[in-house]
Amino acid sequence: MFYREAGDFKTSYVDDNQTFPIKFDRWRYYAVLFVAFCVVPFFINDYWANAIFLPFLIYAIAAIGLNILVGYCGQVSLGTGGFMAVGAYATYKLMTSFPDVNLFFHIIIAGGITAIVGVLFGLPSLRIKGFYLAVATLAAQFFLVWLFNRVPWFYNYSASGQINAPERTLFGHAISGPASEPWAVYLFCLVFTVGSAILARNLTRGTQGRKWMAIRDMDIAAEIIGVNPLVSKLTAFAVSSFFVGIAGALFFAVYLGAVEVGEVYGINKSFLVLFMIIIGGLGSIFGSFAGAAFLVLLPVLLKNLLVGTLGWPTDLAAHLELMIVGLLIIVFLIAEPHGLAQLWRVTKEKLRLWPFPH
């Protein structure tokens, strides 16, 4: 009964354009933000940060990025891992070349560099679509990993071939390196995640978003209303890669701290993020969060339940996880292409009318 639209009339187009037009949704959004910024940092410890919060926040950014390209603009990409690697290596080079500049700016610049690389690898999309484009981005994935493995300049000629994040601080608190403090790292990532979500939401709710969706739904019709398909596709690649690059940078600099490119940014990463947006919901910012949360939490829950409580061997639990994810992908692709976000919307629509469905 409390979830109501009635009596909540919109008197201006500004009100009607809000991200959360229903008051109740708006309050819940503020409540989530409050808890995330003011409550969680006091309780977070190493385990919670590393097992759940950091991967969730970082994957959410990557999922938002990929969703802009795939869900909003309708272009396929299997190169997410490779683009994350670009963000990571750009950050590494920047951190070691300009140690006096704050890591915050390095990460944003790394996003910009990834955007440029994304545009380069997005060029084939001007000519090819669908399956062939997927193959082209797959080639980008393998090429980028190969590049970072083979050119020693990228890893500063270190003997191991790995890159390691040096210690960096923000307002006196370590956010990278071995001595980093979980709550500081968490807040650092949270700022990026919230910023990315707001930026992505603003870009997709207005003119730019409509251009992307027009290209996705029918490129011929998009052209007759004056959308330049080349420019629109390339901006989608740029914006998408910007977010993906930031995610890759955070993953390396503040989450893992040490990275071997093939292991961390391989094709598996590309698929993982793709699965997140399929399960969470294509063409939805909220869905990007839902998908990231789901695929970050699933292994943790299974491990705690099956290995911790029931005493199963770890590899069996891991296999079960793969099967569950595989099954869910199929179910969502067939039954609900708009993912968890759509299920959530439908539930809300029912709630709005409840208890009088007509």
Binding site: S12, Y13, V14, N17, L199, N202, L203, R205, G206, T207, Q208, R210, K211, M213, A214, R216, D217, M218, I220, A221, A222, E223, I224, I225, G226, V227, N228, P229, T235, V239, G283
Partner: protein, 273 residues
């Protein structure tokens, strides 16, 4: 008989028609061996409703596609507002103020009616990506200003109650209307309609005819339309081009065209030599 001076003419119902907006000169379009358009010339004048009719496969849609830049004719010239038009992409043509609808509806199925009609305003949007990313300020203001125009179009076409409905859920007749709304939202100076009434029932056809007349009347929009229903064509249009097998076989007022022997033959299916 119309007096075809450069200054235009006055219609039977007293509307003033202006000079030539769009002139097609000796257009020939081939697809491999198929000649879809054979050396056709005609013009469209400011403020008029110009119909293109002809049997199936006559090349009518191809002609609209030439005007809107989808097809590039092998021969001939297109003059827009008196100037020869260089070869253009469809999105460039759109930016010159030419909007259109398709024979097979071309809406964005994944978007709501409102968003679809808003896409018609894309050419008027001037904010860059950074302003849009910030949203507050220029982008929001622009969104609201354009929303106001779009709401007028939505009122005009009487589709207020389906504003927030995803297009995929609409019946055929309404989709056609939404597609017209999207074209109108662009406030075009030339509007091209490819069979706007195909597949509609009588009532829907009457509504659509009324909208087309109102658009022409209230906004002075020049309209070129393809239509099969002869009754509709005779009622709506000021001048008619008749095509058959890629050739122009008639051009004039509905009455002139109706009494033209070639046109009668084409429609009665007289054998071609």
């Amino acid at each position: 008989m119309l007096d075809a001076t450069q200054d235009g003419y006055t219609t039977a119902d007293g509307r003033k028609i202006g000079g030539v907006v769009m002139e097609m000169k000796n257009i020939t379009l081939r697809f491999g061996g198929v000649v879809a358009i054979k050396d056709i010339s005609f013009d469209i004048r400011e403020g008029e409703i110009r119909a293109i009719i002809g049997p199936n496969g006559a090349g009518k849609s191809s002609m609209l596609n030439v005007i809107s830049g989808f097809y590039v004719p092998q021969e001939g010239e297109v003059l827009y507002k008196g100037k020869p038009r260089p070869q253009m992409k469809p999105y460039q043509v759109a930016r010159q103020g030419i909007a259109r609808t398709f024979q097979n509806i071309a809406l964005f199925e994944g978007m709501t009616v409102l968003d679809n009609v808003m896409t018609g305003r894309l050419n008027k949007m001037k904010t860059n990506m950074f302003q849009q990313g910030l949203w507050k300020g220029a982008a929001e203001r622009e969104e609201v200003e354009n929303r106001e125009v779009v709401e007028k179009v939505i009122d005009f076409l009487e589709i207020q109650n389906i504003r927030k409905t995803p297009v995929a859920r609409l019946p055929y007749g309404l989709k056609k209307r939404v597609e017209l709304a999207r074209a109108l939202a662009a406030e075009p100076s030339l509007l091209l309609l490819d069979e706007p009434m195909a597949g509609m029932n009588v009532e829907e056809k009457e509504d659509m005819s009324r909208f087309i007349l109102d658009v022409n009347d209230e906004f002075g929009t020049t309209i070129a339309l393809i239509e099969h229903d002869m009754g509709v064509v005779m009622d709506l249009s000021d001048r008619v081009v008749v095509m058959d097998y890629g050739k122009k076989i008639g051009d004039g007022t509905p009455d002139e065209v109706r009494s033209n022997q070639d046109v009668i033959d084409a429609y009665l299916g007289v054998a071609h030599d």
